[in-house]
Each structure stands twice: as C-alpha cells, then as structure tokens.
Symmetry: C2
Subunit: 215 residues, 2 copies
DNA sequence: CGGTAAGCTGACGGCATGACAGGACAAGTG
DNA sequence: CACTTGTCCTGTCATGCCGTCAGCTTACCG
C-alpha cells in the first residue's frame, strides 16, 4: 500500500527498526503536548525514547519531517469524521441533532490531537504546502459533506442562490477548528465548555440551513 | 505612562538605543513573514539589523520576548477595530452593511499583521498566558461589542433566551480570525477572496441576529 | 575637558545539529 | 557451528547557534 518504511539513507526498516521509529514518534508527540513547538529539540526526543540523536536522524530528516509523519497518521484516522455527517438529515429535530453531533465529534477529535494540530495549523498558515495539504485532508471529510448538503438545499430552493457553499462550509469548519484549539481561552472568557457546544451547534445549523433549529 | 524603555540589565534606553531596539523589532517582524517561526534565529535578526547577537540580548530576553513586544504594539493599534462596530445598527440594510464592514476591516487587519498573529495564536493555543492575554486584548474590542449587541437584542426578545452571547460572539470572532489566517487555503479550495467576504458577512449576521440579512 | 552612563561587540563555554564509520545483533546458509 | 548478510544503533566529530561577560567606544552634561 503505502510502500515500505524506509530510513533516510534508503534502507528498508525491519521489525525492530519500525519499533524504535514509532517510539520516537510517540515521544515527539508527547513532547509537543508538554512544551512549545519552538523548544522541542531532537536531543530531548531521543533521550526520552532512550536512544541517541543519531538514531532519530536515521529515520527523519528533521523535527518537521517527523511531525508530518505523525500528522499523516492522524489524518487517515481523522477520515472517520465523515461518519458524523454521512446520511444525516438537516431537517427538523434531526437537523438539530446532526449539528450537535458534528460539533461534539469535531471538538473531541481536536482535543485528542491538539498538539499536532496546532503545528499543522501553523505550518499551513505559514504557507507550507505539505502542511496545508494535510490540513485539507483532515478537514475535507467534514467540509465536503457540508458543501454537498448546502448545494443540495440550494437546489431545492431552501437556501439562497447567492450563497457559495464552499465558502460557507469552509468558514464553519475553520470556526470549529479555531474554537477547538482555543477552548481554554473561552473558559477564561467566562464561557463553559457545556455552554459552548450548543451555541456552536446553533451557528452551524444557521450557517448550513439558514434557519434556526427546531429543538 | 508605559514607563521608560529599559535594557535587560536595567539601564534606561536613550535615543540611539531605542532606535536599534526598534530596528531589531522591525527586522524580526520581517523575518517572521519570510521564514517559519521555528527557524527564526537571533543571529539572523541581528545580522539583518546590521548589529550583533549580543546587542539583541541587551534588549530582549529571547526571540519570544521580542515577539511579545511587537504583538503588544500591534494590540494597541488593533484597538481601532472597535470603530467597526461602535454605534452601528444591526437592523435592516444597515445591519447587512455593518456585518460586511466588520468582515472587511477584520480581514484587512489580519492580513496586515498575519505573521505576528500566527505566532500569537500558536502561543495562545499552547497555553502561554502572556500570549493569550494578548490575543484577548486584540480580539476583545470586537468581541465585547458583539456580546453587547447580542445581549441587547436578546433583552428585546429578538434573539432566543437560551443563546449565550459570549459563546456566540467568541465563536464568530474565532471564525473570522481562523479564516483570515487561512485565506490562501481557501483559494486552493476554489473559493476566491471576493466570494469569501459576503459569505462570511452572512454567517456573522445570522449568528448575531438569528436572521438573514435584508440586502 | 573629564566624568558618567549608554551603547556595542569580540570572544567564549555550552549545547544542538547532522554526517559518518564502525560495532552489535539477528537471521539465514552451508 | 562458523560464516555471511543486512539491519540497527551509537560514538565521535565538525559546524554553527545560544546566551553571557568584560571591555571598548560613543554621547551627553557640567
């Protein structure tokens, strides 16, 4: 499928090699959660993994390269977000539930992977194509579903003609991502998690359907 | 007022000192726009400013400290965003215009300062209090106005009781910020700038008033 | 002019980076 | 069992950035 795992100098990695490689990724992941991206050093990751910097460089060109690897793993995992929308209705009470579940699932996913997602977001914002392709890959599952929904509602005349489905969907997804990564910020702003979710769901519902939900 | 500008070792900075200090800040700012945050080195900034690394450390504890300084300057400047909302109406055609101008001004501001804002966002997401206080300071002007608006509309019964003004306003502001910093991403997604703005304005209007705008 | 404080830098120990060659180890072969 | 092969890891090294200090230069003021 994805081709064999290879070291930087072209050797194919065996069982043991893959294990240390994965261990390095895990330790890097942990490191990213506990200290600022800028301060994550190869030597620390290696130490934490009980190995040497040289070993790290055998598997990854640099920290960035390793982060891309982790993010890639997460991206395939994140394709599961599609389930949140597949075959769901946006009408009546069911619509309100769809919105709620989308928000819930999305925030959950983001919370679980916040450290890597922060870095991906940064890389994307800085204009690094690899990172924002990755970001798209993660968000596309949700985004595409939303685009389809809006387009469909539009063809039925339930959404105004001059709405651009891609723009609306993209903006809503960006909102979810942003709120998710600044959840702590909201708390100091005097907004509790439990209160945040229904309000987000409301905004999503309004944006997609153009109407208030019936609860 | 803000107290005199001081060097790290406590001396007060004179005219010349403040000039080099500012030059270092400018060069850092430029550097941040052209290369990834992680790769910005003190030595490069110093070289670009035609001075030595030692000089840099005379004025700032580290790169982060200097970034905070730049961000602080930008934050006071960003207080001007309040104008976008002060005394504006959210009713009828005027409401639609308010939403449009808010989006416009916000995106403009973000575009102008994207490099520093990226870093502030990262710092805030990583949980650094200094950074997210700063982020709040920047966003508060807009956010507070929006909270007030929603609260007012709510007291008039034009917005549902169970809406949390702070949550809605915060989410919309987060959306604007996120979309602004990923504008390029939208372009590759097939959405043009010009199309993006009205759709954002629509979402803002819907979120604040609960109704579609009358155009 | 001389004193004082501001302003700048060369130089240095310390640490991270990234490359390499060589040693340890597991697995297969005769 | 000795031998071979290929994977896997690390010691070591040159290079370059970090962050600090002592000391030199420059500006200001009486």
């Amino acid at each position: 499928m994805t081709g064999q795992v290879r070291t930087v100098d072209g050797r194919v990695a065996g069982r043991r090699g893959q294990a240390t490689r994965q261990k390095l990724l895990d330790c890097l992941s942990e490191m990213l959660s506990s200290s600022p991206y800028r301060d994550v050093k190869v030597i620390d990751v290696a130490r934490k993994a009980g190995t040497s910097p040289a070993t790290f460089y055998q598997y990854f060109p640099d920290v960035e390269g390793a982060v891309l690897e982790i993010a890639e793993q997460m991206a395939t995992e994140g394709a599961g977000l599609t389930e949140l929308l597949e075959g769901r209705s946006w009408v009546g009470k069911a619509g309100w539930q769809t919105a709620q579940e989308l928000v819930d699932g999305f925030l959950e996913f983001w919370k679980k992977n916040d450290a890597i997602l922060r870095v991906v977001d940064l890389g994307a914002a800085e204009g690094d194509k690899r990172f924002y392709k990755l970001r798209m890959k993660i968000l596309n599952s949700v985004n595409n579903s939303l685009v389809d929904t809006v387009t469909e509602l539009q063809s039925k005349g339930r959404v105004d003609k001059d709405v651009n489905p891609a723009a609306v969907a993209g903006s809503l997804v960006a909102m979810l991502a942003a709120v998710a990564s600044h959840q702590k910020g909201f708390q100091t702003w005097g907004v509790k998690q439990a209160e945040l979710k229904p309000n987000l769901a409301l905004l999503v519902h309004l944006g997609i359907t153009g109407r208030k939900p019936t609860k």
